[in-house]
Symmetry: D2
Subunit: 241 residues, 4 copies
């Protein structure tokens, strides 16, 4: 059994009837509902819950955490961010969605500004698969087409991904590294671009498939943490002059 927690800021849903209309159970509810299966237990957590719904207990029991945030990145407590980071470096998978590029947790794990170009203009996005071997794109065709999405454009200020899985084409003339994997410590991270709150992106079957695959890919590797600090020699060291 894999334990997944879907974290959502859950603010657009409270303020904007358009978003509520697209995601009546919230973005977290929509994602949780397609991730659930006999092998995957899914919980949700949101910003306005105590500790943002991410108590140590919850984090310790989470194998893979998904993160959607936008309006209120700064309201996420630094203390919780530190705990999430520690868990990622200890092996918990992390899947950062769309505007989560500017979340504290993503920026601190990347070490860069994670800035980009953006535009809301009901424009077409086409996500092309550039690594056809990757388990994250199992079951996906040559590209995923989304009729309307927000544009995110390069330069995207991230470290070069360990593996670049998808690249986006936008109607307005830009491109973007849309599916990026990273190893950090004992953890695996996947950034996946699409998912503006006013579009039904998380109802798209291909988008659901990518996220479902990513959860499997990001699950913890079962082994002890590395040992750090002062170390006894494993071989004899000869005296020098």
């Amino acid at each position: 059994m894999l334990n997944v927690t879907v974290w959502n800021e859950n603010r657009h849903e409270q303020k904007n009837p358009v978003v509520r209309d697209v995601y009546p159970q919230g973005i977290h509810g929509a994602i949780a509902s397609f991730l659930k299966s006999e092998q995957v237990e899914v919980k949700t957590a949101t910003l306005d819950e105590p500790e943002h719904g991410l108590s140590e207990d919850v984090l310790n029991q989470t194998d893979v955490l998904l993160w959607w945030g936008h309006l209120a990145h700064n309201e996420v407590s630094d203390e919780i961010v530190e705990k999430v980071k520690k868990r990622v470096l200890e092996g918990m998978g992390l899947i950062v969605l769309h505007s989560g590029h500017f979340s504290k947790i993503f920026k601190t794990l990347m070490g860069t500004t994670c800035d980009l170009k953006w535009r809301e203009a009901d424009e077409r996005e086409r996500l092309w698969v550039v690594d056809p071997s990757h388990p994250i794109v199992e079951g996906i065709g040559e590209y995923i087409e989304l009729e309307k999405e927000e544009m995110y454009g390069e330069h995207f200020d991230i470290p070069a991904p360990d593996q670049l899985v998808m690249m986006s084409w936008f109607e307005g003339g830009e491109v973007f590294r849309s599916g990026c994997t990273y190893q950090r410590g004992k953890g695996k991270i996947f950034y996946f671009r699409p998912g503006h709150e006013t579009y039904p992106t998380y109802h798209n079957k291909d988008i659901q498939r990518v996220i479902t695959n990513a959860v499997q890919w990001a699950k913890p590797t079962d082994r002890a943490m590395p040992v750090y600090g002062n170390a006894k020699p494993l071989e004899e060291i000869k005296p020098k002059n």
Copy 2:
């Protein structure tokens, strides 16, 4: 059910009683026996069989191919190598073991000489895990220690691995990139250094675990092959002056 084929040159076993003593069923037999499980069907194939045991039928039914060769790389037919390469680029996983670094199939997939330093001197090898998140090292401690192995030393003339999973320390003073992953076409490749024919390396439980993990990691991703060649536009192209 995953279909695995273990290919072995199987010449040392015929010539050298020491090797036969360590691997009475051949290196292929030893590897097949620990890979077999309810979910993994394993066959073996050797150089001296017709088509080296790698007919199109066999290749088409193989999900992951393991390759051990040393003395007789040049006796492997170019035609079979081309077929194996085509299958890898179409998605079959490939795990290249030890002296397989100089096989035709590895050299043609890497594009480099794959040359290295080597020495047979009963020396200690210690394979350190440098990517603690990788599924290939699930269940493995900080390092694997082998009391006696052949030395392979840098510079190892390979493309920089997509992921460097393990690095070796040798008693005689050298280091080596010992666990290397590559994506090529729709296929995944893992090179794993240890396994000199006169040592019981493939009887070591940790070595067995790494190879077992690698088979799972390398299995094909279930999706259609990319389409190549002349392509109709997906968007209107405006006439230019």
Copy 3:
């Protein structure tokens, strides 16, 4: 003084007046003329010269080789390709341009099919810089725009580049990894997408700047070749039981 050789198939120029009109001195002549400087000595070589203009003397004196081919990849002799490959692995820089993706030399160095989608439709290309730190894009803005180019689309069957420097947007809806670096042996390789023979791409100042920068980036590193083969231990190896 850096010694550069620009190799061109030089067949379109003989057959097609449109190409001759765009490149009266041939594509090789156009490239040679903007690469020449007080610090850079440039020679050209073409397919129909003896040994394709790439004798051992020429190769041995070449620091960086540029390669443009398209119609006649198969007429390039395997023997010359082997010599070029050897020189690249020994340190000669190689810059592969546009349809050179299907050249024997590029395919043998990459180990993959190097296949892609393509279309000739007078469409707009926009090459976006995704690695703003790279010396190859010194002096280049956020993107290079070409009013008319041939389209090359993903999936491009290459190994994941060591560094992805530029990505293309195409009017017809595709994307492409357009500026890719590779290390192979002691040599450095840059693949650069644009340059269809009927368009004045090599007269574009930004394209010239990228190629000029790439020549500097690809120049040989001045050090001895690694030593391969049997190696004496550098440290004492203890007898084992």
Copy 4:
């Protein structure tokens, strides 16, 4: 003219006569003295100067910053670290030496703990070149041998380097990724392992050559910063239903 600033904590030198004996002008003085040339202007800065010697003026005039710290990472002000980070992301090269792995600036740019194994035992280190094409190892042989150094061992908790240039062998049985490059924003970063304060490592000609090469490699790329934020479309976006 390239402007280089060598930053040193400069505390061991005040406390420990052994260190003062090895580096009478301080580690910063030793490094500055071999970096200076007609083309390279070198300044030094130390922890106990106002603003640690890293005022905005100094940072703005620095092309490449070198960083040596150990005892007093926590005394470096967060504000200065933020300014250095901003400058790196804007293009200033950064070379982090030895125990600088635990500096605030390195940890915040890497996003990981940067933890490792260590031991002070007068043991031999041998740094093997694994990327023979890299300009950072120009003029360097197959390896650099240091008779006595502090050991740093894997697992080293860093992101996988963009380019792994050198790997260390240690007498006591460990290995380490010793020469690592990273691109972050518009800046280039090089981590170089050796340099324990009680050994004459920075007097070694090969070590000096690597650092001198790294300064050239890390120098800023001369181009405008990418533009981030809301972006007008470059192409017409069609109305959707």
